[in-house]
Every structure is written in C-alpha cells, then in structure tokens.
C-alpha cells in the first residue's frame, strides 16, 4: 500500500501563467510517454517479475513516477491558474477549457485521452524491462522537446530535474535487466520466459 507525503519531490514555484506551455507540458501528465503511463506500467509489470530486487525496483520507480505525475500536475496548474477569458481564447486553450475548465485531466498534448494501450505489461521480465528502458528514453526525448519550446526558467528548472530522473531510471532498469540475464544461466536466455516457463533456472518465488 501507499501513504502520502504532503510535499513535492521537487519544488514548483511558477510566477507567470502561460497556457501555451501548459498545453505542451500536459503531455507528460497523460500522454504516451507521460508520468501516469510510466507509473502504471511499472506498478502493473511487477506482479509477474520473479526476482525480488527487480520487483522492488519496479515498485520504487513506479512510486517515484507517481510523485512526478504530481509535479507535472503542479506545473500545469500553476501555468493555468488565474487565466483570463481573453488569455484562454488567445492561447488556443479554449478546446481544453470547454471540457475541463482549469482542472487537470490526463491527456496528450494533441488532446488524445490517456490510454492503457500506450504501455505494455507483457509478463516476460526481459520484454518488460526492455520496454521500460525504451520508455525512459522516450520520456527523456519528450522533456528535451519541451525544453526546446519552453523558456521560462521557473518551468525549465523543474523539467530539467524530471529529465535527469529519466536517465537515472534508464540506468537502474539496465542493471535490473542484467540481474535477470545473470540469473537465467542459459545459452540462449531469450528462448524462455522466466516468469512463465518452468524449464528456466531458479526464481525467488517458485
């Protein structure tokens, strides 16, 4: 289970509203490589991971991603609070505003709703960890793209923190993949699914 800490993992203090920036950054709230999808991916995959340290890593990174989901929410909220009707119409924010007012709703920048089809939970540890490493890189690219378009230092400072976390998570998932491969002890470890096939070598929970 979880318990909540009433603080952000990294502080968000944005002075100026910017509805254009908010419409871009919301992609990391509910978009294809966003923090919500990342968290749900790892927290779903972990149930079939037969190695404790890898299931533990998925739990801890999945938990941190929930904290990042909150940070992105804080950024979008602070970029859109106190918007005037004129600003809403001028900035192209009206199509979002008509459905959600100034609330947070998980969608991609292009308006596509958050969707579980944006990630997989395949039940093969090697497949899942490969996806996780790719996911971290895709999120990093998205943050790079955001940093090319958004210039407010109050916003960029937080985005840079989140970008750096993608790189650390990629490293940790790479180590987890190595742990899985080391445990397989097979000439061709891609031939088996260590979470399902019984012919593989030892796991923690079987």
């Amino acid at each position: 289970m979880w318990s909540y800490e009433r603080r952000l993992q990294y502080p968000v203090n944005i002075k100026d509203t910017d509805a254009k920036a908010a419409q871009i950054i919301i992609s990391q709230y509910g978009g294809p490589d966003g923090e919500l999808g990342a968290s749900m991916r790892y927290l779903s995959q972990r149930f079939t991971i037969p190695y404790n340290e890898v299931a533990g890593l998925l739990t801890d990174i999945g938990t941190e991603e929930l904290g990042h989901f909150e940070i992105i929410g804080a950024i979008v909220h602070q970029l859109t609070r106190d918007l005037s009707m004129e600003e809403i119409e001028k900035s192209g924010f009206a199509p979002y505003y008509v459905d959600h007012t100034l609330a947070l709703w998980p969608q991609a920048a292009g308006g596509v709703p958050h969707n579980a089809c944006q990630y997989q939970s395949k039940g093969d540890p090697i497949t899942d960890l490969m996806e996780d490493m790719a996911a971290e890189q895709k999120a990093r690219t998205t943050y790079d793209n955001i940093l090319r378009m958004v210039k407010d230092p109050d916003v960029c400072d937080v985005i840079k923190f989140l970008r750096a976390r993608e790189i650390v998570h990629f490293q940790r998932f790479g180590e987890a993949l190595r742990i899985v491969q080391d445990k397989l002890n097979e000439k061709n470890f891609y031939a088996f699914n260590p979470a399902f096939d019984t012919c593989t070598t030892k796991t923690d929970n079987r």
Partner: protein, 88 residues
C-alpha cells in the same frame, strides 16, 4: 515572517534529504550488498525521519506517520496542498 522563513528552510532541507533517500533507494534496489551505500542511505533515512518529525511538531505533519503528538486542531486536514507553490 521569521517563522515563514524557517519553515521554508526546514522544508527545503527535507526536499534535499528526501531526494538523497529516493535516489539511494533505487541504487540499493540493484546493489543490495554495497556496504558503503547501505550506510549512506541509513544515515539519510534517519535524518529524514528526524526532520519530518521536527516539521510535524512545528508546522503540522507532512505524513500521517508523523501526526503522533497532541494537537488542538487536526492540522493534517487544514494544511495547504503542495502544488500551490511557495511552501516548498
């Protein structure tokens, strides 16, 4: 005003120490036998627990786990949420 400044400073320290805990937790997930890292994380977990307790006593709890002292009002229900800025 002075109280506001020391509240901010304490929260800033919690953010820093909390980050050390987050980072080293992930590191130890994949390096569970590294003694130096274990000592490092243990130190920061202890420090974070102290700071969270101190914050709870002075300004109100950031977690239910630190709401373990007598209060005249249940400040957990009344404290501002963290996404409005200024507080952290």
């Amino acid at each position: 005003m002075k109280q506001e400044a020391s509240k901010k400073a304490l929260l800033a320290e919690i953010t820093q120490v909390g980050f050390a805990v987050d980072e080293m937790t992930l590191y130890l997930d994949t390096h569970p036998y590294e003694m130096e890292a274990i000592d490092y994380l243990t130190y920061y977990v202890r420090r974070k627990n102290q700071l969270m307790k101190e914050y709870a006593y002075q300004y109100g709890p950031l977690t239910i786990a630190t709401a373990d002292h007598r209060q005249d009002v249940w400040s957990w229900a009344l404290l501002p949420m963290p996404w409005n800025g200024g507080d952290c």
